[in-house]
């Protein structure tokens, strides 16, 4: 076998001209790229404007309110007495009630769709869950106000009667021995609003979890079965650990949505501005409901104060959303996507 050696390069031979690998773009491509860039800049401008405007206008109110903005339990901006302590706690309470109900519902449904449902039904079920996410929030609000409230008041009374010793579940000012007590004291509460919000956020959480569960590697599933695991044993040792990131991330996404939900909650609760820790008792606070209630009569400064409240809500949701996406991205099931 002969090897062809490269001809010796003599020093005085002219070096081959290096070809430039940078090609100039065609005119259409240049236009295309500039259009893309322009759209990116436009979106950035809009989003930046929203954030900036919110910060500037909200900043005015924050500057005037100072630290008391976070501790005051009243909303009277024109008298200088305003703060989000009550509505902030209310917002978090409603979201926590929602998560309390949404967690088992969404994990169970996601497990059902990915593990138990017949293959033929799977696509249909996924569509139905997605449809639930697309149902308008005002419809959920109507349902919660006119249907669920009547059915849940009795349950709320029962819980508060027997579990009233748990701090969050007591209802004050009710004579328990009086059989004719008006159940409306158990309506319009954070508990009912939270239940409705739970139904609204369950589909969101459920689809994130289902994605994660379905990606659990078949080899590990079969390995678990081959070692003699029952279906639940397989789920507990393979699917759930694999989808842990999906569960946490989906729940946090749901929490973000639950914090910002407006109209369904606004229809159900009667807003109070003080801290109301009893979730079963009528009256609850929520930031976005506060905005919906007070925007009409707000002065310039009142609007700034509402913007500050909106800013607080936005920052809270933002932190939770970023935490959720980082949890999903770091988990094993989310390693492929973002």
């Amino acid at each position: 076998m002969t090897t062809v050696l490269p001809a010796p390069v003599s020093a005085d031979a002219p070096a081959e001209e290096r070809r430039s690998r940078i090609t100039s773009l065609e005119r259409s491509d240049r236009i295309y790229r500039s259009v893309l860039r322009a759209s990116g800049v436009a979106v950035l401008t809009v989003m930046g404007l929203v954030g900036l405007f919110l910060a500037i206008r909200g900043g005015e109110a924050l500057h005037k309110g100072g630290f008391a903005f976070l501790t005051t339990q009243a909303w009277d901006p024109d008298a200088g007495n305003f703060g989000i302590a009550g509505v902030l706690v209310g917002t978090i309470l409603i979201a926590l009630v929602a998560i309390f109900f949404a967690l088992p519902l969404s994990v169970g449904t996601a497990l059902y769709i990915s593990e138990y449902a017949p293959r033929k039904l799977q696509r249909t079920l996924i569509s139905i869950v997605d449809l639930m996410a697309a149902v308008p929030s005002v419809v959920y609000g109507l349902w919660g106000l006119f249907f669920l409230q009547g059915h849940v008041q009795g349950l709320a009374r029962w819980i508060s009667t027997y579990f009233g010793w748990i701090p969050f579940l007591q209802v004050d000012g009710v004579d328990r021995d009086n059989a004719l007590v008006d159940v409306t004291v158990y309506g319009s509460s954070a508990f009912i609003a939270g239940m409705v919000v739970a139904l609204m956020v369950t589909p969101i959480a459920c689809s994130v979890m289902r994605e994660a569960f379905m990606q659990a590697p078949a080899g590990e599933r079969e390995g678990a079965f081959a070692l003699g695991a029952t279906k639940w044993g397989m789920i507990r040792s393979v699917v759930l650990p694999f989808g842990k990131g999906g569960i946490i991330g989906g729940m946090m996404l749901a929490l973000g949505r639950a914090l910002g939900e407006t109209i369904a909650v606004y229809l159900i609760i009667s807003i109070v501005f003080t801290i109301q820790p009893d979730v079963l008792h009528a009256g609850a606070g929520q930031i976005s409901s506060l905005i919906a209630l007070r925007f009409g009569e707000a002065s310039q400064f009142g609007l700034s104060a509402l913007m500050a409240a909106g800013l607080a809500l936005f920052l809270m949701t933002l932190v939770i959303n970023f935490a959720a996406s980082s949890v999903v991205a770091r988990s094993r099931s989310g390693a492929e996507s973002d």
Partner: protein, 463 residues
């Protein structure tokens, strides 16, 4: 049972035995043997590999009956409980207990846990489904007294006083408002959103990353804050007044990040080798985007847009802040108050009049029907990943394949000369099953060289 093979001579597998000389056969034994079936060899009865046994069904049915009976006993005689939801909850709890008890008479711990959890998971999924059914059913039931009158769809509420019967008044004004708002919002968000998603996908760099972060952050923006922003800028600072346009702008601010995120995910699914193939064939970036990336992800993009539209249509809070509320028809989105279906539903049910509440439910039901239609459209148009063809597309691809087969046969037989036209060759080379509408052929200067010596697969399309 018949032996499928003859046993090897004894001692062959015995490694301790002294090595015997290889047995000599008159003729080499056949490598495989035909199983010799005899007349009495009945086919083996098929084993039931199903997982459902009679005792499982008995346990399930028995525990359901026991649970319902016990719950009825509790609710009617023993405990001071009432209510349908409570009944179902207690019955389900008791059912799980009875089921565990019944199963544990036959199975051991892990199997009992498996059964109980399977029942629990089924129950939870059923609860969610039931909630959706109740939600839709209740809305249509309460709205039926309004929905059954034809005037509900072609009149507005201007003449409907609190005491007017259902024969007067409808939601035409709200439907028109909703259509205007969503049309304007889509006209803004679809081009901008898809272009921005393309920007995020097609370019690299610090600026792209920054835009992506901001868009992700903005998905967290509560919708009412989007309304507040438009209220404070467009209406109060610019002094334009509440109008359909203002509401559409608020909806756009809310929908833009949703559509960008969804389109971004869809565009990322376009296979990289399709893009590379197009670029390698000499198409520029713009042509690649227009003829390869967008057609491939068309169904996914349509789904993203429709789902974004469904979110936008159903959103109440930005509209509440920016559109005002009217009971008369306003067809001009640029000036004057306007209302939308969710806003009308919201305002109407806040009224103490039963007739208005029924109309509010009617508006909610109409909205729900609209979202349902949009959703089904999204499922029909989209719902398939790139490369998954519909039945019709599959038939078309198969027909093209048949044509090619016939053409190859003719050419082999020498009936048809080799094609010289670059266009035809390019079309066949590029009309891959994934992208049926790929149109890069005009940029194909010459036919791609195909080595003559290699055997070409007949009648089979390149994958």
């Amino acid at each position: 049972m018949t032996a499928l093979y003859e046993h090897p001579p004894a001692g062959l597998w015995d490694v301790t035995a002294p090595i015997a000389p290889a047995p000599s056969y008159a003729s080499p034994p056949p490598a495989t043997f035909c199983p010799q079936t005899t007349a009495d060899d009945q086919p083996e009865p098929r084993r039931n590999t199903g997982m459902v046994h009679q005792r499982d069904i008995l346990a399930l049915g028995g525990s359901i009956i026991a649970a319902v009976s016990t719950t009825m006993l509790l609710f009617n005689f023993l405990a001071p409980w009432s209510g349908k939801i409570g009944f179902v909850a207690v019955a389900f709890g008791l059912f799980l207990g009875f089921y565990a008890l019944l199963v544990s008479t036959e199975e051991r711990g892990p199997a009992v846990r498996d059964r109980v959890i399977a029942a629990l998971v089924h129950g939870v999924a059923f609860v969610l489904l039931l909630a959706l059914v109740f939600l839709i059913g209740f809305t249509f039931e309460r709205g039926w007294s309004a929905l059954q009158h034809w005037n509900f769809y072609h009149q507005d509420l201007a003449n409907a006083g609190p005491l007017e019967p259902m024969e007067v008044g409808g939601i035409r004004h709200a439907a028109i408002g909703t259509l205007w708002m969503i049309a304007i919002a889509l006209a803004i968000t679809v081009p901008l959103g898809i272009a921005c998603a393309m920007f995020l996908n097609e370019t690299r760099g610090a600026f792209t990353r920054f835009v992506r972060t901001i868009v992700e952050a903005m998905t967290a923006l509560p919708s009412i804050v989007a309304g507040l922003f438009i209220l404070a800028t467009w209406i109060l600072i610019l002094g334009r007044g509440k109008s359909g346009l203002a509401a559409a702008l608020a909806l756009s601010v809310m929908m833009l990040p949703i559509i960008i995120r969804a389109a971004d995910v869809v565009l990322r699914l376009v296979p990289g080798n399709l893009k590379e193939a197009s670029l390698a064939l000499g198409a520029g970036q713009w042509r690649t985007a227009w003829h390869v990336v967008l057609p491939t992800s068309r169904s996914g993009l349509a789904t993203a847009v429709i789902l974004g539209a469904a979110r936008g249509i159903g959103e109440t809070s930005p509209v509440l802040l920016t559109a005002g509320y009217t009971t008369y028809t306003n067809t001009n989105p640029l000036a004057g108050d306007m209302t939308s279906l969710p806003l009308a539903a919201f305002k109407l049910v806040s009224s103490p009049q039963n007739s208005f509440i029924a109309r509010g439910f009617g508006a909610g039901a109409t909205l729900l029907a609209l979202v349902l239609i949009l959703f089904i459209a999204a499922r029909i148009i989209g719902g398939r990943g790139p490369g998954n063809l519909t039945k019709r597309q599959q038939r078309r691809v198969a027909a093209v394949s048949q044509q090619d087969l016939a053409r190859f046969a003719r050419r082999e037989a020498g009936l048809e000369p080799e094609e010289q036209s670059a266009e035809g060759a390019g079309r066949r080379l590029l009309s891959m099953p994934v992208v049926t509408s790929l149109k890069v052929r005009r940029r194909m200067p010459t036919r791609l060289p195909v080595p003559k010596s290699l055997p070409r697969p007949k009648g089979r399309r390149r994958e």
